[in-house]
């Protein structure tokens, strides 16, 4: 296979497969936050802040995959 085509295919796979795990992870963080707010609506503000933090950390892993995809797409 032509190397340029291979690197473009790899870029697509990198972000495609690499976003599965973080997608599930962010969903789980959201689920935990929703359940906690349901149980304890008073702490909603604090839970929301920590939820955003947890989501940002989980999303970082997807960003690593995205960076690899960019590097593959941009290299000659």
């Amino acid at each position: 296979m032509d190397p340029v085509a291979a690197s473009h295919l790899a870029a697509g796979l990198a972000i495609g497969i690499g976003a599965i795990g973080p997608g599930i992870g962010i969903g789980l963080v959201g689920k935990g936050a929703m359940e906690s707010i349901g149980r304890n609506p008073e702490a909603a503000g604090s839970i929301q802040t920590n939820m955003i933090l947890g989501m940002a950390l989980a999303e970082a892993v997807a960003i690593y995959g995205l960076i690899i995809a960019f590097i593959l797409a941009f290299s000659k």
Partner: protein
């Protein structure tokens, strides 16, 4: 070979971006991974992100001067001093909530600097006018301004500073225990050591990836539907800029906490956070 290709992708000399609409030459080019060098001072190249960093710095210094003129004990309700106090107090509360009053003062300057700098740089990257102001270099258009954190060098610098500061406080507060932590449990200690260094990478790549991907997203969306839709994505970028500043700051605090919590006292501290002595 792989390292060569990585260096190639981040090469600053003559690296054109991928054009989403190559046939029409519409001028919407995805910015390259590395910032473009505008001119050289000796061996150092001044890139457009460095230039924009100076703009951000000038604005922050000006803001600091305005906020600290004629300080009063009880500030007037709508003054700049109140604004500054709100920002500082919020960050200080986050720090104190995590490590207690005494230790918070040690990491607070770094935390506040990181937060204010990263937030300002992220939000400044959304100005619409930083794209069209360009110079011509070797026949290609090079914008003289570019988002500060969309440059891995900037975020790597921030992450390295965070690493050095947290390691310094770890050594100073835990001393020998900090070093033995990486040696004692064979296997786990070495993994902990690797994870210390990986923190630099993860901090820098998280911020860089978010900002760079945001730039690419806004560019691509603007090239598809120039009216209305870019506003939505700029709003998204505003939110993400704020979140990433928060995440970087809170992670700095978390790493400081981890590095300065002595495991001898950890049990007692867990029972009663008020017993958190200045370790």
């Amino acid at each position: 070979m792989p390292l060569q290709q990585l260096a190639q992708a981040f090469a600053t000399e003559g690296a054109p971006g991928i054009t989403p609409q190559a046939s029409t030459g519409s001028g919407f080019e995805i910015p390259p991974l590395a910032p473009e060098v505008l001119f050289r001072i000796g061996p150092l190249g001044v890139t457009n992100t460095i230039l924009y960093t100076y703009v951000v710095m000038v604005v922050l210094v000006f803001l600091a001067i305005v906020c600290t003129r004629k300080l009063k004990e009880t500030p007037v309700a709508r003054s700049w001093q109140t604004f500054a106090e709100v920002v500082i107090a919020t960050i200080l509360n986050v720090a104190e909530g995590s490590v207690g009053r005494e230790r918070a003062r040690r990491i607070f300057p770094l935390m506040a600097t990181l937060f204010i700098f990263i937030l300002t740089s992220n939000w400044f990257s959304l100005f619409p006018l930083i794209g069209p102001i360009y110079v011509l270099e070797h026949g290609a258009r090079v914008s003289i301004f570019r988002a500060v954190n969309a440059d891995w060098s900037t975020t790597l610098a921030l992450a390295l500073v965070t690493f050095v500061v947290t390691e310094f406080w770890g050594l100073r507060s835990r001393g020998k225990e900090h070093l033995m932590h990486f040696v004692k449990p064979i296997g786990i200690g070495q993994i902990e050591l690797v994870s210390e260094f990986v923190r630099v990478l993860s901090l820098s790549v998280r911020l860089f990836g978010n900002l760079f991907a945001g730039e690419v997203l806004v560019t691509v969306m603007t090239s598809l539907i120039p009216i209305g839709v870019p506003a939505v994505f700029l709003l998204l970028e505003t939110l993400f800029g704020f979140i990433q500043a928060t995440v970087f700051t809170v992670l700095c605090l978390a790493y400081f906490t981890l590095n300065t919590t002595s495991h001898h006292m950890a049990h007692d501290e867990a029972q009663n956070p008020l017993h958190a002595t200045a370790a």
